[in-house]
């Protein structure tokens, strides 16, 4: 075998994807915390996530977020107030609350009737992708309702 043939044989086939690097394959999420870690890992610009009950208790958070009970209370208060604020515009259903600040975004979405999900994100984050991702994991997240 010539040197050229040896090089071609060693090179990856253009018709076959390269094997994923170690750690790139994520196991299927089993808990809400897994979902929040997955969300943070796979969506570019997503910085961390917190799941809270609407009455202000922490339910889960991505592993990179600080464990601060006040966060869940603030998320509940903000969501509760936003549900009232939307009536100014005649709204009936709160879909998203956006806190736009100098360091980026905080995005809040009601998850079912009893939960709220907050996402720390860069301003450039693909919000459509984030929402689609969250929708695909709602069943697992809502199974986390604090009892």
């Amino acid at each position: 075998m010539s040197v050229v043939e040896q090089t071609r044989a060693a090179a990856p086939s253009p018709f076959r994807p390269p094997p994923p690097p170690p750690g790139a394959v994520r196991p299927a999420p089993e808990t809400p915390a897994d979902v929040l870690d997955e969300l943070t890992a796979v969506v570019t610009g997503a910085g961390g996530a917190i799941l809270a009950s609407v009455d202000g208790f922490a339910v889960a958070s991505s592993s990179n977020m600080e464990d601060d009970a006040a966060h869940a209370a603030m998320l509940a208060a903000a969501t509760g107030l936003a549900r009232q604020l939307m009536t100014i515009g005649g709204g009936n259903e709160l879909r998203q609350l956006v806190v736009d600040h100098d360091e980026g975004l905080l995005l809040l979405w009601p998850i079912g009737e009893h939960l709220v999900l907050a996402m720390v994100a860069e301003r450039t984050v693909d919000q459509s992708r984030l929402r689609a991702f969250v929708r695909s994991r709602v069943a697992l997240l809502t199974g986390a309702r604090r009892s």
Partner: protein, 205 residues
């Protein structure tokens, strides 16, 4: 025309009757941020305030208008109290006489509130009909320097209105005191205050 607008803060521990007070007296639809409770709190009541309640109360064709802001009761929402207490004219601390287990923490909260308060405070002792008992509870909480202690039944609208009348009376007394302390006081303003007091007397008569 509104001559006087007062901001009232209604605060106190979880399930004391703060939202009931505002709902029973407000003359405009109450802005409420109640959500369903979970965990241990769901055994006490079904819904709880997570941000604020807001209601209004006016007398004499809106000559005096009260803007009533209610806080959540749980310590985890204390930041809302800190936000809402700015520029208040009077604080109303509501406590449930029957929920004795809440009194120690309510006392800590009340004493903390009174420590840096520059406006009058009243204590509304809910589920209590006896003035002496109400004052005893207020003293046990550390309420030694409050303008009034009011026994009340806040599930009853009339009782809620009586609390508001006591709040109004306290505010007008404070205005009188402030005017008397001001040597260069504006006589017109005093006259306005006297008018306001007469209006209040007409309402409460």
């Amino acid at each position: 025309m509104t001559d006087h607008v007062f901001k009232i803060l209604v605060t106190g521990p979880f399930a004391a009757g703060k939202t009931s007070l505002i709902q029973s007296v407000s003359q405009t639809p109450v802005v409420s941020t109640d959500v369903v409770t979970s965990g241990d709190e769901s055994e006490v009541k079904d819904a709880t305030t997570v941000a604020m309640d807001f209601g209004t109360y006016s007398i004499e064709d809106d000559a005096i208008r009260l803007l009533i802001f209610g806080t959540p009761g749980q310590p985890r929402f204390r930041f809302m109290t800190n936000i809402l207490k700015g520029d208040v004219d009077i604080v109303t601390f509501v406590v449930n006489a029957e929920a004795r287990e809440t009194h120690p923490s309510a006392g800590v909260e009340l004493r903390s509130l009174l420590a840096d308060l520059r406006v009058p405070a009243v204590v509304a002792v809910n589920r209590c009909d006896d003035q002496d008992e109400a004052e005893k509870i207020a003293r046990s909480l550390g309420a030694t320097d409050v303008a009034r202690v009011i026994p009340c039944q806040l599930i009853d609208e009339d009782s809620g209105r009586e609390v508001v009348i006591e709040i109004l009376t306290t505010l007008l007394e404070r205005m009188e005191d402030d005017d008397e302390a001001d040597d260069d006081g504006d006589e017109t303003a005093v006259a306005d205050d006297n008018d306001a007091e007469r209006e209040l007397e007409a309402v409460t008569a």
